[in-house]
């Protein structure tokens, strides 16, 4: 028993010693960042030539009925339920598309690659995707392009030459600015905060965290980032992690940022149950429905997200248009059905628009 105690103490001491003083925030990736201007002047978008891939010898699909499959990162969470709804809505509006959503129950690249591979074999005309990993998914998407299939991504991109178009919900530096600005408004320019994310290996979250770090260093240098915790895509775990943060820092932490639509409501619930509404701000990305109770109770002032339904809708429209040939490499704008004209940036990215901010005044208008 003595041996056990000594070894466990040793283990704990050793592990405390491995903690690093991070210069970049934990959870960010190591790609170059490009923070926006603090005062909101839009970044000058340098025109970039088209850098997407193209299908080889695609058959003429103009006006014809096509079969499309939508392969999100995983199924079973509200975020991708609503993108799927958007895809189906566009398919109905277009009239000549039969679409279905098929995804693994885990956010796993191997499962996703296998799924896409099977659909290539089964002879679909179009593939929509949200990638679990931008590089890992590239080989199978290139295989799809080589088979003459139209490929359009949304939400989480792949390498540019592995798909024709990517519907970008918002630029990463735009998301970062939105979140940090909202946070600063609530906790002040010298407040301290922590982050709850999904996993450190999820590309989107890692990108946003890096951009947030750069933007905060540029525009709110006196703010303190405390730490980032992982909570997978599990709301109970997110709840427990948020609680641990609240317990650990007490009044030293003024805000929590939730990086996924799973983490933000869970963090809000943690703050509510700990009786810290109003003392700890919760800011983050979230679909409006789970946030309604907290926003209405005044515990959360606002949640940020783009319309995920619109995201799926735009992706489906883009796929149809590229199958028909009305959306071509080199286009600068794209008319996406009921969404109107969308900007095309960075060569092959279709920008959905700016993130929507859900507050007490408008949250009831949304249902997703």
């Amino acid at each position: 028993m003595r041996r056990y105690m000594i070894t466990s103490l040793l283990a704990l001491a050793l592990s405390a010693g491995t903690s690093q003083a991070a210069s970049t925030w934990t959870g960010g990736d190591d790609l170059p960042t490009n923070p926006l201007a603090c005062d909101g002047t839009p970044a000058a978008a340098a025109p970039v030539t088209y850098d997407g891939g193209s299908p080889t010898k695609a058959p003429d699909r103009n006006g014809k009925q096509i079969k499309v499959v939508d392969v999100p990162k995983l199924v079973g969470i509200g975020y991708f339920n609503s993108t799927s709804k958007g895809v189906m809505e566009a398919a109905k509006d277009l009239g000549n598309v039969s679409a279905k959503t098929d995804g693994s129950t885990k956010a796993n690249i191997d499962d996703q690659i296998t799924l896409i591979d099977n659909y290539i074999t089964s002879g679909v005309d179009g593939i929509l995707f949200s990638a679990n990993d931008p590089v890992a998914i590239a080989p199978v998407l290139k295989k799809a392009l080589a088979a003459g299939i139209n490929v359009v991504g949304y939400d989480a991109d792949a390498q540019a030459d592995a798909r024709q178009w990517f519907v970008n919900p918002a630029t990463p530096n735009g998301v970062a600015k939105s979140l940090i600005d909202t946070l600063a408004k609530e906790i002040g320019p010298d407040g301290s905060f922590a982050i709850v994310t999904s996993t450190f290996t999820t590309p989107n979250q890692a990108r946003w965290i890096s951009e947030m770090s750069a933007y905060q260093a540029k525009c709110y240098p006196k703010m303190t980032w405390l730490e980032t915790v992982e909570a997978q895509e599990d709301n109970i775990l997110s709840f427990n992690q948020a609680n641990t943060l609240i317990n650990k820092y007490g009044s030293d932490m003024k805000g929590i940022i939730g990086m996924t639509s799973v983490a933000t409501p869970a963090a809000a619930d943690a703050v509510t149950q700990a009786g810290q509404c109003g003392k700890i701000s919760v800011v983050g990305l979230a679909t409006p429905n789970p946030m309604k109770p907290y926003i209405k109770a005044g515990c959360v002032k606002s949640a940020v997200l783009w319309s995920t339904t619109d995201l799926g809708y735009a992706a489906m429209e883009a796929l149809r248009a590229s199958a028909d040939g009305t959306l071509k490499p080199g286009d600068k704008t794209f008319k996406a059905g009921r969404l109107g004209e969308l900007q095309i940036i960075n060569g092959s990215q279709i920008l959905l628009g700016s993130p929507a901010v859900f507050t007490k005044d408008n949250v009831d208008k949304y249902d997703f």
């Binding site: 995804g103 129950t105 690249i109 590089v135 890992a136 080989p139 890692a206």
Partner: protein, 318 residues
């Protein structure tokens, strides 16, 4: 000797049933979708199932000895990460980096065997612990970063073909042949069966029980490590979450193939047929329009159904 004969007859019984099921399945699936039974598709499925296949073949050995190895998925992930780290961060030439990573993975398997034999920890618990440890090491060493941008020739392993057959499939076939011969016709193969059937008796018969078990777990680590390198080549990047859930896929294939979870019975052929059945189901159902969640339900039902059928038939015989 007579024990050996009986176990062969039993095995043959389950494998033949399974083989018949497999053939029926393939025919049904071929009718459901015209793309299923094409050469290109079948070869492609072979490519996709190599990682699980390598691990499952050696898992057969492990389970026959009465043990189990839950850490294979984590060893795969760790090897994948180390390949990237050795190549990019330490600047080693890629071939050396990959070999070194495989060596580390093999060592992880050795540690499993060591803990199980020298400390007497039951295999389920030991590999449950190392599953967490190795996965954690993968995440810590990689700092959640991916390594990408490998030279083109490296992708031939995972994405290319040799003589029209996917490269990694040759490796799988080679390992399958080697493993079958080892298990069926060598002394170490017979030791493995004996240990699984009755470890105490095997020990008192003078068989090198501990050494054989360590060898088996080390081989399991090696198979997982090799699968890790192949996986990296197939998807052209490394991630610390690669291989999660691999152990359950491998165990499903092994058990479906007729290997008894209590040890003492099993064959590589059975595992291979099990692999083929599962992969064809996943592929064929998807081609027929069944979604991923429906396929999961069907595979679960099939696993229980197949073993139920075998158990009932064996009870009837006995």
């Amino acid at each position: 000797m007579s024990l050996h004969n009986i176990s062969w007859r039993n095995l043959l019984r389950h494998e033949t049933i399974l083989a018949i099921v497999a053939v029926i399945l393939l025919i049904l699936l071929a009718f459901q979708s015209s793309q299923f039974f094409t050469g290109a598709n079948l070869l492609n499925q072979g490519r996709l199932m190599t990682e699980v296949g390598l691990v499952a073949i050696i898992m057969t050995f492990v389970i026959i000895t009465g043990g189990i190895d839950l850490s294979v998925g984590s060893i795969l992930g760790l090897t994948a990460i180390l390949t990237g780290v050795f190549w990019q961060n330490l600047g080693l030439p890629l071939v050396l980096a990959a070999c070194l990573a495989i060596a580390v993975g093999t060592f992880c398997g050795f540690v499993n065997g060591f803990v199980i034999t020298r400390f007497g920890v039951p295999p389920l618990i030991a590999t449950l612990a190392t599953l967490a440890l190795y996965r954690g090491l993968a995440e810590g060493i990689s700092q959640a970063r991916s390594v990408r941008g490998y030279p083109e020739w490296f992708y031939v392993l995972g994405q290319g073909s040799m003589l029209g057959v996917p490269t990694q499939l040759w490796i799988l076939i080679a390992l399958a042949i080697l493993a079958s011969i080892l298990l069926a016709a060598t002394r170490i193969g017979r030791s493995i069966y004996a240990i699984g059937a009755n470890e105490v008796a095997a020990f008192f018969s003078g068989l090198p029980v501990n050494r054989t078990k360590i060898a088996v777990y080390t081989a399991s680590g090696f198979a997982a490590a090799l699968a890790g390198v192949i996986f990296v080549s197939r998807v052209s990047t490394t991630r610390s979450d690669m291989g999660t859930g691999l152990e359950l896929d491998a165990i499903t294939a092994v058990v479906l193939g007729g290997t008894s979870i209590y040890g003492g019975r099993g064959s590589v052929i059975g595992t291979l047929i099990g692999l083929v059945v599962i992969q064809s189901l996943k592929n064929g159902l998807s081609l027929a329009g069944v979604k991923a969640e429906g396929t999961a339900v069907l595979i679960g039902l099939m696993l229980i159904g197949a073993i139920l059928m075998t158990t009932v038939l064996n009870k009837r015989r006995a």
